[in-house]
């Protein structure tokens, strides 16, 4: 299949207009010794039904549809209202470029403006950007932003932050003379504040705190922000499960300076980890150091309201090596999905959604921890994920579950060798009571055996 719209006659006419005999002549500017002069060795062209067939076969090699899953850890199963797919797949949204020509991009620019407003409302912060790649790079961008603001070179990153996010922060900061210090967790599953206090000093740029954290435990953001501010460091909140913002206290009410995170939960399918949706919000005094695109309101020459990309001098295409970030293309269509998702759910829907997550997860948590051989590993309050410790190694528990076509969660051993008996279980609004109850029964059976 080719997607060329020229007839042979068109080509002839065009070549004649240009004054060359064949398209190959147009490549004479390329030195002969680096020309390929052979066909590429890739599979020969396929028709549409053949391509479809290939990918259907490929997808069938994935076994996920045969299992009920309790996996979370930064990628969450939630219901996506039909209107989200329907509206976001419109060509008018999917096929334009970045809205540089504002007059023919109002649909995109107004949607971004609404997205920014929704993120501000959810986080309780002053300003938000048009999106970042994902939660992990959002966390890294927040760290870099903090360093630009206060020019200090140490960042405190808790072990309760998603391990992948920690890895990305390490990658982004490795060449910039920044020291990243990891802070442990206590028996509640929250940041060990004694260790935090010990490591805070004049040279600390920021304290990062994920809530609900990687263990599903709700952190005391208020307290963490206070510790940071006492030492003139910034408080960065990471929200890896954005649905929690529907119910839990907003970062903006808890002294947070920069709130960032992953908004995959807002209408974006799991998709093996991407594309997802990073977001970032902050207090307006930091706007000059804020990374990424921003849509702003203005008027046209007739006085009608319109929207434009604004404050662009922060960005790479103008400030080049001194830009606040190198980000250019972001995750716009995912941000549109999130905007539609949030507006469809609305005030009541959002709250009910978050309520069902916290209620169902706590129901499951209470049920499981009463099973003989199971312990709640941490004492802190949880949102929609929790850690249980089992009498057997989690890997054994997991393989027993898999035989019954249930994925019981995520093994923590690979990230925390000390937690080899622990699993991270996620329960969302799509987990049915009967599946939770069955989980409990199976777990009972495994540990009794």
């Amino acid at each position: 299949m080719s997607y060329i719209a020229l007839s042979e006659k068109d080509k002839k006419e065009m070549l004649k207009a240009i004054g060359v005999s064949s398209p190959k002549k147009l490549f004479d500017c390329i030195p002969g010794d680096i020309k390929l002069n052979r066909d590429l060795k890739i599979p020969t062209a396929m028709s549409e039904p053949e391509v479809m067939g290939y990918f259907n076969e490929c997808a069938q090699k994935n076994k996920n549809s045969e299992y009920i899953s309790f996996q979370g850890a930064g990628a969450y199963r939630h219901y996506i209202p039909a209107a989200v797919d329907y509206l976001s797949s419109r060509g008018e949204f999917a096929s334009p470029y970045t809205p540089y020509q504002a007059e023919v991009s109002q649909g995109t620019l107004q949607s971004i403006f609404e997205f920014q407003t929704l993120i501000c409302q959810l986080t309780g912060m002053d300003i938000a950007n048009a999106s970042l790649y994902d939660g992990a790079s959002g966390a890294a961008e927040a760290v870099l932003m903090a360093m630009r603001i206060n020019r200090k070179s140490k960042v405190l990153v808790p072990k309760t932050l998603h391990p992948h996010y920690r890895q990305v922060i390490n990658t982004y900061t490795r060449n910039l003379g920044i020291s990243v210090r990891e802070i442990g967790y206590d028996e509640t599953g929250r940041i060990d504040t004694t260790e935090l206090e010990k490591n805070l000093d004049n040279n600390t740029s920021a304290v990062v705190c994920q809530t609900p954290n990687f263990f599903g435990v709700i952190e005391d953001l208020d307290k963490i922000s206070a510790y940071a501010h006492e030492n003139k460091a910034l408080s960065i909140a990471v929200l890896a499960e954005a649905s929690s913002l529907g119910l839990l206290k907003a970062p903006g009410e808890m002294g947070v300076d920069i709130a960032t995170g992953e908004a995959q939960s807002f209408g974006i399918p799991l998709s093996f980890g991407g594309p997802y949706l990073g977001f970032m919000a902050c207090s307006k005094e930091f706007v000059r150091q804020f990374p990424g695109r921003i849509s702003g309101e203005t008027n046209d020459i007739d006085g009608n309201r319109g929207f434009v990309l604004t404050l662009s001098t922060r960005e790479q295409h103008i400030r080049r090596e001194r830009a606040t970030s190198n980000i250019c293309t972001n995750q716009a269509l995912c941000a549109l999905r999130a905007t539609i998702f949030l507006e469809i759910l609305g005030q009541q829907g959002l709250r009910e959604w978050a309520r069902q997550n916290i209620q169902k997860a706590n129901y499951a948590y209470d049920l499981f921890k009463d099973i003989r051989g199971v312990k709640a590993f941490f004492s802190g309050e949880i949102y929609n994920e929790f850690v249980i410790k089992t009498g057997k190694k989690w890997k054994e528990v997991e393989s027993e579950f898999m035989r019954k076509n249930i994925i019981p969660g995520i093994s923590l051993e690979r990230f925390y060798p000390e937690l080899e008996h622990c699993g991270l279980v996620c329960v969302t609004e799509v987990s049915r009571k009967k599946d939770i109850d069955r989980f409990a029964e199976i777990l009972k059976g495994i540990l009794a055996g």
Partner: protein, 130 residues
């Protein structure tokens, strides 16, 4: 156009001397090249500047330009008005649009700067290169 009592730099800043103090701004040519100024980043009072050191940044919608200090000295005043009304830089670059005042450290540095007529000639030269 360009006041006779000012001195000028190749980067299009001007200096006006009043005793031990120098006012610094950007020239009419600089503001016209930048277009509508939307933001000016100012230094802190008390900062010690060397000549050619960046003292601040002017931003228009689609351009960013460093402002270099024409001479060495300590910043004694900054034009706070630019924070709220950056367009003064466009409207009145040689007077109300001053950016900082400096306590002059070494008057001999002024000799390296251009006079008004030299600067105008320099601008003519730039036009020819276009």
């Amino acid at each position: 156009m360009y006041p006779e009592d000012f001195r000028y730099t190749k980067d299009h800043e001007w200096v006006k001397i009043e005793g031990d103090t120098a006012s610094v701004g950007i020239t009419d040519f600089a503001q016209s090249q930048l277009g509508d100024v939307v933001f000016v980043e100012l230094p802190e009072i008390g900062e010690e500047l060397k000549s050619h050191q960046t003292l601040g940044v002017v931003e228009s919608v689609k351009a960013v330009s460093d402002i270099y200090s024409p001479i060495s000295g300590e910043v004694t005043e900054v034009n706070e008005g630019l924070n709220d009304v950056p367009e003064i830089l466009n409207q009145d670059p040689h007077s109300k649009g001053w950016i900082i005042k400096l306590k002059i450290k070494d008057k001999s540095e002024l000799d390296e700067l251009m006079s008004a007529s030299e600067y105008e000639k320099y601008l003519e030269g730039l036009k020819d290169e276009e």
